[in-house]
Symmetry: C2
C-alpha cells in the first residue's frame, strides 16, 4: 500500500483508470491494478467510487455524451440529409480524437457486465441514428444506392473507428482532429479517385 | 485428460487453436485451454506441434501467404497503379473473408513474442506495398492528392481491417466476399456521394 498522499479528484482518477482499462482490457483489470497505477490504496479509490464498474460507466458516459452531443448540434438537425451526415461524420471523428482514450474504451467494451451491455446498446443507438441519415440521403438521391446500406454503414464506421487503433496525437507531425476529419469526409463521400466514373472495363470481377 | 481418440491432423488442430486464440487472445491462451477445446491431451498436441507459438506461426503464415500471394497475381503487377491498387484492395477483402479467423488473428497480434513481432513486421511490409501503389497512383494523377498519403493508407486499411470485427459469414443474408469487396472498392475509390463535386459552401470548417 502506498503512503503517497491521495491528491486525486474523480476526474484525474478516471484518467488513470481509462489508461489501465485500455492497456489491460476491462476484464483483465483488478482494483489492485488500479491502485498500483494510481499510486494510492484501494480504500482511497473506494473513497471516490464504488468500484471499477463505476469508473467504466463514467468513462464510457463521457464518450457517449460527446457522441450524442453531436446529434443535438444545429448542423446535425438542419439541412439536407447528406449534409447532416457529412457534418455528423466530421464531428464524430473530431470527438473521437478529442476524447481518444474514452472512445477507445467504449469501442472495446465486450458486454460481460450491465454497464458494458448498456454501453453497447447506446453505441448501437448512435450507429442507428447515423444509418438513418445515410438511408435518407440515399432516398434523396444524394448517395449512391448500389452499395448496400448496412454494408456502407459498417464500412463508414469501420473507417472512423479504426482511428483509435492507429492515431497517435503525440507522434511528430501527427495530423490534428480537423485534418483527420477532413480526410475521412473526403474519402468516404468523394472517394480517392480523381475521376469517379470508372469505365466498364475497369472492373475485374 | 481425455480418452477420446486423437483424430486431429495439424490442419484441424490449427482450426481449433485459431478459434481459441481469437476468443481468449493469444497471451491468454494456455496449452491447457487448447487441450480442453480440442478434447485431446496436451501430450497429443505436442505430438503435432512444439507448442502454442508454433500454432500461432502456422496460423498467421496462412493469413500472410494469402495476402502476399495477391501481390504476385497478374492484375497486381500489370497495368496502371490505380487499377493495380483497386485490384489489390478487392483481393485483400476477398482473402480476408475467405481466411477470416486467420486474418483476424493476424490483425490482433500484439508483439510480445518473436513470432508476433515477425507477423507485425510482415504485415507492415504488406501495408507498405499497398502504400507504394497509392503513392504511384497519386503521382499518376489518378488519385486525389489533397488527402495526405499516410492518412489515406491508414483509413483504407482501417476500413478493410474493420471487416474482421463485424463480418459474420453465418448471418442470414450475409454478403459474400465479392459483395463486401465491391462495396469497399466503391466506397474507397468513388465515395458514397452520387455527385462528388461539393460546392464551396458544402464544408463546415
Amino acid at each position: 500500500m502506498s503512503t503517497r498522499r491521495d491528491t486525486y479528484t474523480p476526474e484525474t482518477l478516471l484518467e488513470v483508470a481509462v489508461r489501465v482499462f485500455n492497456e489491460r482490457g476491462y476484464d483483465g483489470t483488478s482494483m489492485e491494478h488500479l491502485s498500483k497505477a494510481a499510486g494510492i490504496s484501494k480504500s482511497s479509490i473506494y473513497h471516490h467510487v464504488a468500484g471499477k464498474e463505476e469508473l467504466l460507466r463514467r468513462a464510457v458516459s463521457r464518450a457517449l455524451d460527446g457522441l450524442f452531443g453531436i446529434l443535438t448540434e444545429e448542423h446535425a438537425r438542419v439541412g439536407s440529409a447528406v449534409r447532416r451526415l457529412e457534418y455528423v461524420t466530421r464531428r464524430t471523428v473530431e470527438v473521437l480524437v478529442a476524447e481518444l482514450p474514452y472512445v477507445t474504451l467504449l469501442l472495446r467494451v465486450r458486454g460481460n457486465t450491465d454497464t458494458e451491455r448498456w454501453a453497447l446498446e447506446r453505441r448501437r443507438e448512435f450507429d442507428h441514428e447515423v444509418a438513418e441519415l445515410l438511408k435518407e440521403a440515399v432516398a434523396d438521391g444524394d448517395l449512391r444506392s448500389d452499395v448496400e446500406l448496412r454494408l456502407a454503414t459498417r464500412l463508414l464506421f469501420g473507417m472512423i473507428n479504426s482511428i483509435v487503433e492507429w492515431y497517435r496525437p503525440e507522434a511528430r507531425n501527427a495530423a490534428n482532429g480537423a485534418q483527420v476529419a477532413d480526410a475521412v469526409v473526403q474519402l468516404a463521400f468523394s472517394g480517392l479517385r480523381t475521376d469517379d466514373r470508372p469505365s466498364a472495363g475497369d472492373r475485374w470481377t
